[in-house]
């Protein structure tokens, strides 16, 4: 319940400022200022935009299939928001610590596609339909490398529970599993134990250096999952007006935008949990200088919550910022290039990584 309220409110606030950040980042990249007029340095611009959006007329095209058109944004949003349910925000704070957390996450996020297809189809507009078709083709294609990367992590971690995956990357792993041991780069033969060193050394990207590549693949796929440039052909403003949400206006459109930014946050959270140590500090303990312990609290304590939430959220927001940076750097991929990238490059690499991860796992025990 607390997690629900927290994530809902957090998501709303985050979206408002993510839109602002996006406009600022794009502006800076293009040598502009971005919004400057509303509030200090334009800070309240998105709030004003939101107020305007809420007041707008809810236009439903006359020829639209209203049964599909109207609920579509809600379904998209619900699919994205439901994903937050299993995220362990801190060591002791999560909506649900389901054992099959990551499996559930992948499944529920796929529902997103259903909403998008409903929106595109129900709009009865060629642009919306094209956008929806592209979106479906794209998301289905990219779910494969995405899913395979998750599989890699699961193979390394031997669990589907997101909270447990995070614990494994932490200095507190021994609290839930006294016999657990982490070794540098996951290679037991090296004999350098890092269980109590923690920090970045126990993050999944370094527990198994293969995951560095895995993280890149995951990140690329997650961009496609959230329909972000350079994989934004479902929206492709220059070709499809607005893609699958062309016909939406007012609050429904706001919901779709909210979902898009929610999706960005969700995949960033996921990437953080799977590869970047979740709620753990990146500073390791060096001898008696217990940087890791100083920058994270005991699980269950208030300090643990605060530090955990801080690391988790700042890492996720950093990834969101990188997503924006990427968006305003690269041009949009053509549909065939998109498929090329997914099927000819990312998917084979992912399969290879799965194979290698299995071998790596053997080194870790």
């Amino acid at each position: 319940m607390y997690a629900f309220l927290f994530f809902l409110i957090f998501l709303l606030i985050y979206t408002v400022f993510a839109v602002y950040a996006e406009r600022k980042i794009s502006a800076f990249i293009q040598d502009r200022y971005g919004p400057m007029e509303t509030g200090y340095y334009g800070l309240l611009q998105t709030v004003a935009d939101l107020l305007k959006l809420i007041q707008k007329e809810d236009i439903v095209p006359f020829k639209a299939d209203k049964k599909l058109f109207k609920p579509a944004p809600v379904i998209i949003f619900l699919a994205v928001f439901a994903g937050f349910a299993v995220l362990p925000l801190t060591s002791d704070f999560a909506g649900s610590s389901a054992q099959i957390g990551i499996f559930y996450l992948l499944a529920i996020v796929s529902l997103d596609v259903v909403g998008i297809l409903m929106a595109g189809w129900g709009s009865n507009s060629k642009y919306a339909l094209w956008g929806a078709m592209r979106s479906v083709a794209q998301i289905i294609s990219y779910e494969i490398p995405l899913g395979l990367m998750v599989v890699c992590v699961v193979m390394i971690s031997q669990t589907l529970n997101l909270q447990e995956i995070t614990y494994q990357q932490s200095i507190w792993w021994n609290q839930i599993n006294p016999e657990a041991e982490n070794y540098l780069f996951g290679i037991k033969a090296l004999g350098i134990e890092t269980t109590n060193v923690g920090g970045i050394l126990t993050w999944n990207i370094l527990r198994s250096p293969l995951m560095l590549i895995g993280f890149v693949i995951f990140f690329i796929s997650s961009l496609a999952e959230s329909n972000r440039a350079p994989f934004d052909i479902p929206e492709a403003e220059s070709e499809l007006v607005g893609g699958f949400h062309t016909e939406y206006s007012g609050f429904r459109w706001a919901l779709i935008m909210l979902s898009e930014y929610g999706m960005m946050l969700l995949v960033s959270f996921l990437a953080v949990i799977l590869f970047l140590g979740g709620w753990n500090s990146f500073l390791p303990n060096i001898g008696s200088v217990k940087l890791a312990e100083w920058t994270s609290g005991e699980p269950g304590t208030l300090a643990g919550h605060l530090w955990g939430a801080f690391w988790m959220i700042s890492k996720a927001l950093f990834l969101v910022a990188v997503q924006m940076w990427v968006r305003w750097t690269y041009p949009r991929l053509r549909l065939d290039q998109l498929m090329n990238l997914s099927w000819k490059y990312l998917t084979p690499a992912s399969i290879l990584l799965v194979l290698l991860s299995a071998v790596w796992r053997l080194l870790m025990i």
Binding site: A27, I29, D31, Y33, W325, W328, T329, Y330, K344
Partner: protein, 408 residues
């Protein structure tokens, strides 16, 4: 083999992709970093003008402005106290957006800051910025440099009317007053002239004799300039007569020259006819008659008339009207000079510059021409060639004057 090549291409693609993606991110990261500062405004003359500057380019307009020259191509400003209402700016304006109504003063009303005497009030001096093309011609011709372009370029308005900027600063009451003064003054002058005329008539005859000698072209004017003052004398008198005879409109008087010529020959009745026509200014005749446009000289007379009258009235008192004309004439432009003097304020200076504009007004000229032609013919046909040269100038003058006259 093929497969091997394909594989090479495959790895090369990956390498290229990684390289280019990295480069791209670096470029945008650099821009983000540079966005902490703002580009400085530099003039095109600066050495580093073409150097890439990576800082923010945006100028937050109403709050920040790029520096502009003090006298760029922006909003016009007229320092009305320095304006001698010469009408040059209005005549040179290619879009006719300057609207001036002059109001002659009975005496010099002061000096501009550069020492030019002011003799005309601006009853109305409007510049319609909505029509203005900001070519700057008017500022170039302005003899007192009172008309300038300012550095103000942001003067949008909700109503076109607001773009019609009035510069004249006379109140309606003042205008009325000055008008009355002028009227009285004119009356007095006419009375004086009437007196003079009686005395001068004999002289006039002598003058007429002189004119034929001068030569055909515009004889009347030229002769005067060169030195044949006697003729001039005659003219002033003539206008006076006309006025008396043709009270109907001052405009008719304006074309005094035609009147003069006819009179000189002796056929005064002709003169009367012309004035009437000129007022009408049948536009229809213009097109065909443009070639004849040279007759425009006639037009000048119209314009001048008012001024002349005033001047003449002054002169009449002095009885030395001619001197005035001569001084103006430097020598080469003698003919032109004459006109300027008459108009004194407006006409005299404008002729040269206004030549280009003069053509449009042909309408007026035709009328004039006919009259003139008649007059000329009566006098001497040889005059036509001479007239041709002048025509340009004259036509210009007429339009404005006629307009202003009508309004008055």
């Amino acid at each position: 083999m093929e497969a091997a090549d394909d594989m090479k291409g495959y790895w090369r693609n990956i390498r290229t992709a990684v390289d280019t993606l990295k480069t791209g991110l670096k470029v945008t990261a650099k821009h983000m970093k540079d966005a902490r500062t703002q580009r400085t405004a530099i003039v095109p003359e600066a050495d580093n003008y073409f150097e890439k500057q990576n800082a923010i380019f945006t100028v937050q307009y109403p709050k920040e402005k790029l520096p502009v020259p003090d006298h760029g191509r922006y909003k016009l400003h007229n320092e009305i106290d320095d304006c001698i209402v010469c009408d040059k700016c209005a005549k040179v304006c290619p879009v006719d957006c300057i609207d001036i109504i002059p109001l002659r003063a009975v005496e010099e009303i002061g000096k501009t800051s550069d020492g030019t005497p002011r003799r005309i009030y601006a009853e109305k001096f409007n510049i319609d910025m909505a029509k203005c093309c900001f070519c700057g011609l008017c500022t170039t011709v302005c003899p007192t440099e009172c008309l300038t372009m300012t550095d103000e370029y942001d003067f949008s308005a909700y109503d076109f009317e607001e773009h019609n900027v009035p510069f004249a600063n006379m109140t309606p009451l003042e205008i009325l007053q000055k008008k009355k003064e002028l009227e009285e003054f004119n009356k007095q002058k006419e009375a004086a002239k009437a007196l003079k005329r009686e005395e001068v008539v004999p002289e006039e005859k002598a003058a007429s004799g002189a004119k034929p000698k001068v030569g055909a072209a515009k004889p009347a004017f030229k002769p005067r300039v060169p030195g044949a003052k006697p003729k001039v004398v005659g003219k002033p008198q003539i206008p006076a007569k006309k006025e008396g005879e043709e009270p109907s409109g001052e405009e008719s008087q304006s074309k005094p020259k035609p009147v003069f010529k006819p009179r000189v020959p002796g056929a005064k009745p002709k003169v009367v006819v012309k004035p009437e026509m000129s007022p009408g200014k049948a536009a229809e005749e213009e097109s065909g008659q443009e070639p004849k446009s040279k007759p425009k000289p006639v037009v000048r007379p119209k314009v001048q008339p008012k001024k002349q009258e005033s001047e003449e009235s002054n002169e009449t008192s002095d009885k030395a009207p001619r001197p005035v004309i001569k001084p103006k004439v430097p020598g080469a432009k003698p003919k032109v000079v004459v006109k300027p003097k008459v108009p004194t304020k407006k006409v005299a200076e404008e002729p040269k510059e206004q030549e280009a504009k003069s053509k449009p007004r042909p309408v007026m000229k035709p009328k004039v021409q006919q009259k003139k032609d008649e007059a000329n013919q009566s006098e001497s046909k040889t005059e036509l060639p001479k007239k041709a040269a002048r025509p340009v100038i004259k036509p210009k003058i007429k339009p404005k004057n006629t307009d202003s006259d009508k309004e008055e």
